[in-house]
Amino acid sequence: MKKADKYIIIGIFIVLLISSLWVFIYKGSKDVKGSQAVISKDGNIIETIDLSLVKEPYEFTIESKNNGYNTIYVEKDKIKFAEANCPDKLCVKTGLLTNTSDIAVCLPHGIIIEIKNGTDGQIDSLAN
């Protein structure tokens, strides 16, 4: 009786160890694969932001030729062009990007913001 209990306890401990390891690995991979905002300029990636890890909202500015600039606003799971001095302001009009495969672009300044690898995205791409 006592011996059997010992085996049960050891067995349970092993299961416990494996399950916590599993949960740990699972959680770990989830953090790595949060939705990423990839910002590129003239075809080169200049910034990659893991949006799921953003705590406080912040802004930063990208400068381009001829005194061009785009201010980008970032908050948890969201990103947008907040301001720009391009002629058409289509980048700003695009608004907040949240979903996988969402894209905003400033053609005059050659800047693209793309959302990738979002785990909660229900779509692979957007027809619009």
Binding site: I12, S19, V23, I112, T119, S125, L126, A127, N128
Partner: protein, 358 residues
Amino acid sequence: MKINKYKILLLITILPISLSLSACHINPVGLRRSNLHQGPAEKTQLMLGTVISASAYGENADHALDLAFTKVDEIDKKMSRYREGSEVDLINQNAGIGPVKVSPETFYVIERSLDYARQTDGAFNPLIGELVDLWAIGTENEKVPDKKDIDNILPSLDYNYLKLNKDSYMVELTSDKVRLDLGAIAKGYAADVMRDVLLEEGIDSALLNLGGNVIVIGRKPDGNPWAIGVQDPLGSERGEIAGIVNSIDTSVVTSGHYERFFESDGKRYHHIFDPFTGYPAEKGVISSTIICPSSIDADALSTSIFVLGKDKGLELIEATADAEAIIITEDLLVFTSSGINDDLFELRNEALVYEKSR
């Protein structure tokens, strides 16, 4: 007694952990992630005046994407109206002067747009460029033009001014007031070409998005169809969807009144023009989605439906082989062609309802 305490303690600890373990096994997100792990080749470029992004799976995928983008660059150089020295520019420079010899590729695209102009009695119009420039929607100069300026342009939108000679690949605009613009169809053509390049390179799973024109090869690597969202025409944020098209080896193209527009005196002016009035099309359509294997067809058809309205638009779709349509009208009704079923299209927005006779 002692051991019993341990047992209870352990059971309490294990129960939630094993629950989370099983939840993780059935989580479809977990499945998807394992496929993402292999990773597609991805590429995004600014071409054709828009952003083109592509992902393809397979050993050769990187190389195949490079080839596909090179082809789009060639198309851009030949068919952009705004590039000095492009074939379309040369045709326009010689408007009212004489014919211009073009490449078979450019000829094909012009021929197809003329086909669509005829088939839609001019609702689809490859000569609309002057009108687009006058309104300048999406630029800093956007404005409601003087009626008299619009009326001046209307006669030059007659597609009979466009003459083609297939034997010699000659294209001519027979009036100096007429300008050719392949903008409504070039993205669709480029999508078809990219797909063909990838297929030739042995790619059997890929997703291409050319400024909102989507084309897919095969299925996703996990065996599911590609889930292509249709932009919600009412949504305030990009990426809000009206529904999902489950897509295998097809193209999905949506035109919407939300794409490029401005408001003046409380009225919305969008970027799809009615060549008969010279104003943005007002036939009650706010979104039209075409699903068909050929993206050049999808591109032309989605634009045509805006100008034709839902009734004539659906007639056109039913008469076109392999094409299906989802049309959303301003009274928030959803009209579909006969081949659309719940497996192909999932309506996801409760504000939208199918029209009754469906």
